[in-house]
């Protein structure tokens, strides 16, 4: 059996909360992400001028980076390869250099095809309660039965 530092399926219950984890996507973080991603710069994610031409208040965090941040929050809690599905709605542009609060709430648990699955609501919010990105995730957890 692999090392298990995260929770077991039997440890979690409906209504349990994960986080909130607070982090900031800095200008440098976004530039590094765009380099890795291969998105040519400058772009609306890195340039004030281009962002404003696109009708934005300023450069924003790429949606795929927000997904990565939220995915990491979940896999940091549950372990690598635990995340089976992530379905997000991008409700507002995510700003650089401001606190982002990532949290999840367990809304369902079930056993399906031999897997122990939990379903969570997952949310990225701003300090003033802005709901930037929200959606649902399905995570598979190991069982401790028989131990």
């Amino acid at each position: 059996m692999p090392d298990q530092n995260g929770p077991f399926f039997e440890d979690v219950d409906l209504g349990d909360e994960i986080g909130p984890i607070e982090l900031v996507a800095t200008d440098d973080n976004v530039v590094n992400f765009c380099e890795l991603w291969g998105n040519p710069m400058p772009n609306r994610f890195t340039s004030q001028e281009i962002a404003e031409k696109s009708g934005l208040f300023g450069p924003i965090v790429p949606g795929v980076m927000s997904m990565a941040i939220m995915s990491q929050a979940l896999t940091d809690w549950a372990g690598p390869e635990s995340l089976k599905d992530l379905d997000l709605v991008f409700r507002q542009p995510v700003p650089h250099n401001k606190p982002l609060l990532v949290s999840a709430t367990i809304t369902d648990t079930r056993e399906e095809d031999g897997k122990n699955l939990i379903e969570c609501d997952v949310l990225m919010m701003g300090e003033a309660g802005e709901r930037y990105v929200g959606g649902t995730a399905i995570i598979a957890l190991p069982s401790n039965r028989g131990q």
């Binding site: 409906l14 209504g15 709605v89 809304t107 609501d121 949310l123 003033a128 309660g129 709901r131 929200g134």
Partner: protein, 218 residues
């Protein structure tokens, strides 16, 4: 009764919550968090789900599930309770540029009631339109507490209610299951269906509440 007057299921394009997930979440609120929540209203965006029947699910989980709409107008979003075939024939529910005043009038004409949603929302709420000179003579009720509001927005709705003597409702504006019930409306009367909900709103005897305040009082 505590009823969440504003929620969205996956029938709305921007929601990820199924009605089944909502009723399960109601059980979490009741059993694990000691909250009272009697029901919720599905206020789907720009539509009314005439074909959907949640009565079996409602009975199974002992939760009141009602249906309504959240419509787009030129002066912000408006919740409409008591939507019926007559109203849907007179008003194009999908028209994002409809006149809010016409909607308020048409709703009353057909026995429904229109309540502007999150009026304090910056940029798109009724407060901003009224600041620009728009007036709404037939308006009596607005959504005073919205669970999706940013800091300051519910306060703007409070001020609007005070300045114009509007009554105020509460709703979570949930798009995810775990947000259901964060704000609700407290009614002293028993409500069993949409018709009775409209009557209760017209009677004017209700109060918006935060779930956390009810928890503290239980």
């Amino acid at each position: 009764m505590y009823i969440d007057l504003h929620s969205h299921s996956v029938s709305s394009d921007d929601s990820r919550a199924t009605v089944e997930q909502y009723v399960k979440w109601v059980q979490v609120l009741r059993d694990k968090r000691g909250c009272t929540i009697d029901g919720f209203v599905l206020t789907e965006h720009r539509k009314f789900d005439f074909d959907k029947d949640y009565s079996q699910l409602a009975a199974e989980y002992n939760v009141l599930i009602m249906k309504a709409s959240e419509l787009d107008t030129r002066c912000g979003h408006v919740l409409v309770y008591g939507v019926n075939e007559g109203l849907a024939k007179d008003i194009d529910l999908g028209d994002v540029k409809m006149d809010a005043r016409e909607l308020i009038k048409a709703a009353r004409h057909h026995g429904a009631i229109a309540v502007p949603a999150h009026p304090g929302r910056f940029g798109i709420g009724l407060v901003d339109y009224m600041d620009q000179g728009e007036t709404f003579a037939d308006l009596n009720i607005v959504e005073r507490l919205n669970g999706g509001s940013r800091a300051g927005e519910n306060e703007r709705a409070d001020t609007l209610c005070r300045d114009h003597s509007y009554l105020g409702t509460g709703g979570s504006d949930a798009h995810l299951a775990s947000h259901l019930g964060t704000c609700m409306t407290s009614f002293p009367t028993d409500i069993k269906n949409e018709r009775q909900l409209v009557d209760a709103l017209l009677a004017g005897d209700f109060t918006p509440v935060w779930l956390k305040d009810i928890q503290q009082n239980n």
